[in-house]
Every structure is written in structure tokens, then in C-alpha cells.
Amino acid sequence: MSASVELDNLTVRFGSFTAVSRATLDIAGGEFFSFLGPSGCGKTTILRAVSGFLDPTEGAVRIGGQDMSGISPNRRPTALIFQNLALFPLMTVAENIAYGLRVRGVGKAERRRKADELLELIALAGQGDKLVSELSGGQKQRVAIARALAVQPKVLLLDEPLSALDLKLRQHMRAELRAIQRQVGITFIYITHDQGEALTMSDRIAVMSDGVIEQVGDGKSVYDSPATPFVASFVGENNAFPGRVVSADARMAVIETAFGRLAGRNPSRLTAGDRAILFVRPEAMVPTAGAPEATLASEVVSVAFEGNLTHLYLRGSGKKEISLSIGRTAGFAMPAQGATTPASYAPEAGLVLPEGALARE
């Protein structure tokens, strides 16, 4: 059983500070939906508004089509997984998992049966009588998921639950979370500042900045066709070349940058004279000359070998270096540090967007 979640013009203010501004979107039932953004962008506020710990200043949250205003968190069909998990340290694993059932008046034997069933699901069968403190980080993580699933929520809310784990475990838990979601089939709303997590797990992603939803789409569209400079610079690595449009048509635009005229796709229909930023992904660039309006030249600052990829850093116009990620099978001769090298890209791989704020490094 899953339910859709609709945010209708959701606005949350704390005094004069607007944490979330006019968020409107529909999350389908059974969807794995992520909110992605840097800390302080308002994503946790949205989660708290959906779970009921915060009242919206304006707008509404609807779950399964039903307006949630005035419904307290203990009566909503949602379950929240906290960033620090918030397992009850004085209860055993099974008691933790069955707590939601206990407060609903479910009998002891039935609670135990349900807890055992969920322990099976999270691959911790037979560990119900352990104390939470005896578990490892990943096991605690799974107990928190089981505890939330025990109350059969229609929507599961996850507040950066993997951030406390180490890298290997985090990658493992991504796959596991996704598998659990497929298995139980309920709506997952996932909050993260880690784009890797958002891209690998989600059906769709909402990228947020300063309380505003910048773009909603699946991982591929957010990565390949970012709608704003913020999304372009926050999701994945990107080289940004600010400048002014010198010529443009419906498809392509050419802008005058610190490295001369460079071309890129023009989805925003910019016209000559507009201030703009050209974005080119590091993996789209190669250290050779190409088409004249898709080639620049600069000094090599450093070369970093990373096994499958070699990263080449060229001097940029600002503080940030231009980065190139070159696959080892591509067969390019790497220029030496200090040398000046051309760098080019396919013009269609460039993206020209109207000037706007970039993500802070």
C-alpha cells in the first residue's frame, strides 16, 4: 500500500527566514523520490512538514489526496527515519521494531511474530533479543528501517540515513534500500546532500537551493539537462565559463568567454547580448583541438591519475580550475604539467544557461 504525496504551494517560514518557498510537486504512489540539495536548502524542512512535525506557513501537504493540516505526526500514514536513527537504547532490537505496534495495542505474541518477520526482511533473523548497542552501524540502519516499516506506513521518509556510515557500507546500503523499496512497494521520500545517492536510487529527484525547488526530473535529465546554473554545478562536476551571448539560434548559442568564443546547446532560447554561463562536463572534454568554437587553450596545473580515469586540471579564468576526466582507453597523450594544451568538446556537449548563482564549493 502506497500513497501519493502532493506539495501544494508549500511555504515554511521561521520568523523572517523562509526555509521553503512555494514548493509544488506531486510524488506518485510507490515512487522513490529524492530531495537533493546542500545543507540548509530546506529539504529537511519539507520532510518535517510531510511527517507533521512542522506546520506549513502557507500551502498544504496532501497524502493520498487527503489534506494533512491539523493531523499530528502520530496520526499520519508516514514513518520517518532519522538522520541519527533515534533507536531506543533501552529496548531490545525486537522491542524497537515492534514499538509502533505496541502503542497501537497489538498483543505481545503478534508483535514478536511481526518483529521476527521484519528481522528476516532486513537479514537480521534471530538477533531480536540483542540490545541496539550491540549492533554495527549498518545493522542499526536496517533496524531503523524495519521499525519504520512495522507500522505499515504508506510513505517512508528518510532523512539522510546513510550519512553516518562509511563509504563501502553506504554504497551497499544504497542497493539494499532500493531493493527494500521494490519489495514493500511504498512511497519513499529520501533526503540527501549526496548526489551519488540521489542519482543511483531515485526514480525522480528534486534539486533544491535556498528553499526553492530548482528542478524536478529523473537522474538522467537532471544530470544531462540541468535547468539552472545551480543544478548544473551542484549535480556532478561541471566546468563553468561565464560570458555574454554573441550569436544564437533556437538550437545553439555562442558566448564570448575568457577563453574566446565557445558554443553550446541553447535550451533557454537566449539571444545575443544576454549574460550567460557555458557548462561543459569534465568527461566531455578531451586534451586536443576540435571545432574552433569548442576549443580553448590553457596551462596544465596538475595531472592526477586515478586508475580508470586521469584528471587533468587546467588554469581557469577564476579561482576554479578547468577539469578534464579522460578515460584510459581513449588513448590521449597526457600533456606535462606546466605545458599549454588545447582542450575541446563536442559543441552539443556544451550547455548555455542564463546567468545565475552556482553551487558553493
Partner: protein
């Protein structure tokens, strides 16, 4: 050799033990470990041991030991002390149960004892009921500014002298006091209610006297509870009272035990509130002890009574900690 002399030997033994412990420390630890005298120097080391020994001996051990010894002696006029009649006896303890003059059960003192313990338990429970919401508010839900104001409002009244506070309460609760006048003025009662005779003053006075002693351990315990735990319980569907029953109170149990123990002990041993606020027919156990010392100058019996109270209170507290599964160590955390 008198048993009182033994008492003087014990302090010397304590100092000797401290000194030996310091000496042995260097020997038992590995060779790289610097011993107590190496760290502090011979002079300072000796001074520290002497100071700690003095403190332990003269302020803690000796007074109590002297009282214990006293309680096992008969009451004698000074000239007969140390004479043939000065023998060890349990007569003073026996007199608590059986009246020496008549040989009957000492019902008055036994009843006062039970009453004192009973009222102290009620006061501790009542205090907990009042202080738990206050402590929870201060620790979890209040804004910082409001908590500061509340803290100030809680503490400032305690700057007032205890006896003054007791008399102020008396003025409020007296037959012609403010509360009775208000009740009569509002037509709720025809005649004055005898609050003091019914010991209302005693209960209120005792509860109020130890309010802070309850609030702070509770506050300390609840304050360290992760708020996410409360929200998690709420999110899982628990109504507020189940959150308190299942999450907050189990977590704060050591603080609760600490607060209740202190209030119970202090209440059972209190003197001012029962003296000034107790009804005329009320006999508080500490008042009996007080009278033995200062009215009838029967120190041995007073000491015996005091130890009966002390041992009974400790036993009761340990029993309660057992019942509620709290270790003694946790309560003084």
C-alpha cells in the same frame, strides 16, 4: 579500655592505610609509572594525605562513629562515665520498641516513625509529580530564554531563610490567614478550615522545601535525552503519555531515583518544617530525636533513634532502587 578510645584509634588507622596505599602504588604499577610521592614530592604528598585524612576523620568518620558508640551506652551523669556502670548495651535501641518504664510497646514512637517514613514517601512522590513536568519543560520543550526565567523563579525563593519561609506559609494557612479569609469571603466555606491541624502546612512546607532537589536531577537526566527519540516515538504513533511512559521516564530513571532518594531522605530527616508547620498532634520522628538531645539531654537514646532512622531510610532506599532496577551508582552519576 573504653570503647570510646577505640574510636580514636580508627582515624590513625585510616591515615596509615592512606599512606600505605600511596607507598604501594609505585610498586604495583609498572616501572614506568610514577608513584604518588614521585608525582607530588614527599612534602606535598604527606600534606595531601594528612589533609584528606583530617577531612575524612574529623568531619566524616569521627562524629558519626562517636554517635554510634554513644548510642550503645547507658545514659549516665558525667561523674559516672567510664565507671563500672558504663557498659555496652542495646537498651537504647530496645527502648524504641519497648517503653523501659512500663514494658509496653512504645507505640507513640513507633507510630511517629512510621508516620515520618510514610509522609516522606508521599512528599517524594508528590514532589516528583510536580517537578517532572517542570523539568521536562525546561529540558526539552522550553525556549532558552523562558527556561532561564523559570530557573530564576525556582531558585530565587530559596534565598529566603527556611524558617522565614515556614512562617510565611503558616500565615497563609492559619485559621485567620489569607487562604481561609478568601475561601470564606467567596462563600465556599462558612468557618475556617484547620489547614495546619490537618497537616496541610506540613505537606506543603516539606514539598516546597525540597522542590529544587527534585527538579535538578530530573532536569539533568531529561536534558541529555535526544529529542529525536521523542519524535521517533511520536512518529511511530505514540500519544504523549506513552512517549513519557516508554521513552522519557525509562531514560530518566536514574535521575528520578536520585531526586526521589534525596527528597525522601531530607524530608525524613527534616526538622524546621515539622516544627513550625506540623499540627499540634503531629509527632515527627526528627523532633523526637531533637528533644532527646536538647530537652532531656539523653544523648545515647537520641543517637540510637537517629541511627534507627538512618538505617531504616537507607534500607528503604536500597529496596526501592532494587524494585525499580536502578543501581546506586547510576543515581549519583
Amino acid at each position: 579500655m573504653s570503647s570510646r578510645f577505640v574510636v580514636l584509634l580508627i582515624p590513625l588507622a585510616v591515615i596509615a592505610i592512606f599512606w600505605l596505599m600511596a607507598r604501594r602504588e609505585a610498586a604495583t604499577r609498572g616501572p614506568g609509572h610514577r608513584g604518588y610521592f614521585d608525582r607530588n614530592g614527599a612534602l606535598l604528598g604527606t600534606v595531601f594525605i594528612a589533609l584528606v585524612g583530617f577531612w575524612t576523620v574529623f568531619l566524616v568518620v569521627l562524629p558519626y562513629l562517636y554517635m554510634v558508640v554513644e548510642s550503645f551506652h547507658p545514659r549516665l551523669i558525667p561523674s559516672k562515665r567510664g565507671g563500672p556502670e558504663d557498659v555496652l548495651t542495646i537498651a537504647q535501641y530496645r527502648s524504641f520498641f519497648v517503653e523501659p518504664s512500663s514494658g509496653n510497646w512504645n507505640t507513640i514512637h513507633l507510630w511517629a516513625f512510621i508516620y515520618t517514613i510514610g509522609v516522606s514517601v508521599v512528599v517524594a512522590a508528590f514532589n516528583f509529580a510536580i517537578c517532572y513536568p517542570i523539568a521536562y519543560y525546561m529540558a526539552q520543550s522550553g525556549t532558552r530564554q523562558r527556561v532561564r526565567v523559570l530557573m530564576l523563579l525556582l531558585v530565587v525563593p530559596y534565598w529566603v531563610n527556611e524558617i522565614l519561609r515556614a512562617f510565611a506559609l503558616r500565615l497563609l494557612l492559619a485559621s485567620k490567614g489569607l487562604i481561609n479569609q478568601m475561601l470564606m469571603g467567596a462563600g465556599i466555606t462558612d468557618g475556617p478550615i484547620d489547614f495546619l491541624g490537618a497537616n496541610v502546612g506540613l505537606y506543603v512546607g516539606l514539598s516546597y522545601a525540597y522542590l529544587l532537589i527534585m527538579v535538578f536531577p530530573l532536569y539533568n537526566a531529561i536534558e541529555s535525552l535526544d529529542r529525536n527519540q521523542i519524535e521517533a516515538a511520536r512518529d511511530l504513533g505514540a500519544p504523549w503519555w506513552k512517549i513519557h511512559r516508554d521513552v522519557v521516564i525509562p531514560y530518566a530513571k536514574p535521575g528520578i531515583a536520585s531526586g526521589c532518594t534525596m527528597v525522601f531522605m531530607l524530608s525524613a530527616g527534616s526538622l524546621a518544617a515539622p516544627q513550625f508547620l506540623g499540627g499540634p498532634r503531629t509527632l515527627w520522628f526528627t523532633s523526637i530525636v531533637y528533644d532527646f538531645f536538647f530537652q532531656s539531654f539523653n544523648w545515647p537514646r537520641g543517637a540510637a533513634y537517629a541511627f534507627i532512622l538512618l538505617v531504616a531510610c537507607i534500607a528503604f532506599v536500597l529496596l526501592m532502587l532494587r524494585v525499580f532496577k536502578v543501581s546506586l551508582g547510576e543515581t549519583i552519576r
